[in-house]
């Protein structure tokens, strides 16, 4: 949800904050299956901006935290798929298909809110997600 930040960000801050969300979309550009790519992209972007202004840092951390949980979910799906493909005692089953469909649903939802956050922060609005927002607030200090 959108809320007011403690100060109004400048045009350049809004652009950088928006880019932190766009970084997490990079996985789609380089190929979806490797779950580590989007996490790495947001992590590098955060490192590059860790001394930036509060608004930029705040959004970099929120993007990073959301990617971290997505990374766990996607990694399980990735390694499960690898074992289905290469291990003789593992095969396509209903729990596997249900998990992959869940991963797909979660990723689509995450994609939608990330695009929305990128657009809003580009306009200088402050977007604080449910759970990730308060968690970011605890980690990131002005």
């Amino acid at each position: 949800m959108s809320s007011t930040f403690i100060y109004h960000p400048t045009e350049s801050e809004a652009e950088k904050a928006s880019n932190s969300y766009l970084m997490s979309l990079i996985a789609i550009m380089v190929g979806f299956p490797l779950p580590i790519i989007n996490l790495m992209a947001t992590l590098f972007f955060y490192i590059a901006n860790r001394k930036s202004t509060y608004f930029v840092r705040w959004h970099c951390i929120q993007a990073l935290l959301s990617q971290l949980s997505l990374f766990v979910i996607n990694s399980i799906g990735f390694w499960w798929t690898i074992s289905v493909l290469f291990r003789e005692d593992e095969h396509v089953s209903n729990p596997y298909l249900a998990y992959i469909i869940t991963v797909f649903v979660v990723n689509i939802f995450e994609l939608a809110i990330t695009i929305s956050a990128a657009i809003k922060t580009r306009k200088g609005q402050h977007v604080s997600w449910w759970f990730y927002g308060p968690l970011t607030q605890m980690i990131c200090k002005p």
Partner: protein
Amino acid sequence: MKKTILQAFILLSLAAGIYLLISRVNWMKLFRIEKMTDALEQKLGDMVWAGMEEQSIEEGKEYDRVDSLVTAICKSNGFNRDKIKLHIMGDSEVNAFALPDHHMVVHTGLINAVHNNDELSGVLAHEIAHMELSHVMKKLLKQMGYTLLISITTGEAGGGAIKELLGMLSSTAYDRKLEKDADIKAIEYLKKTGISPNGFADFLYRLGEKDGSLGSLSWISTHPDSKERAKYIREEAP
């Protein structure tokens, strides 16, 4: 802090809830995966067998001996005997293997190498276990993939692919875990039939010793660690 922990808990519960809800749907049935695999298995079995049919012995003393043992195992374990298509091959190699669609091939070399029916029953129970546990198709799907298997059945992959598939099933071992699973199941089948698994263990031990009188030992070369297997079969036997 408390609020954030509560939110994390709700988020995790939500994710688990979504998964549980989605897993209520029978996706295997919806995507017709089992039906597709069964149809593919039947087609593959028929195609592979068509190439070997000429060398098969479908009657006589040897056939009757193996048939009676297979029938006894099936009857005692509640399996449909008619599902298993038994074939005896005139080949001196000590070998037996399962093909797709419940085709079971036993070489005369194996029949001559065993000392008694208990030993032969052990090998037959092991191959029946591979079939009952769907190991044949699991192995083929892993090593060749759906696309290649489908292209074999449509003739796109060429005749060489069937030979490759047959070679894989008759001379390459399943992975260690599947072999052990088949051994454990075989012990169960033998016990239910009233046959002591010790005969199976004795045969494996002899194969492990690479007894020269046994001739060409395909079954041992495809099933590693025979002595170790003989040991755990003996442990499981009463």
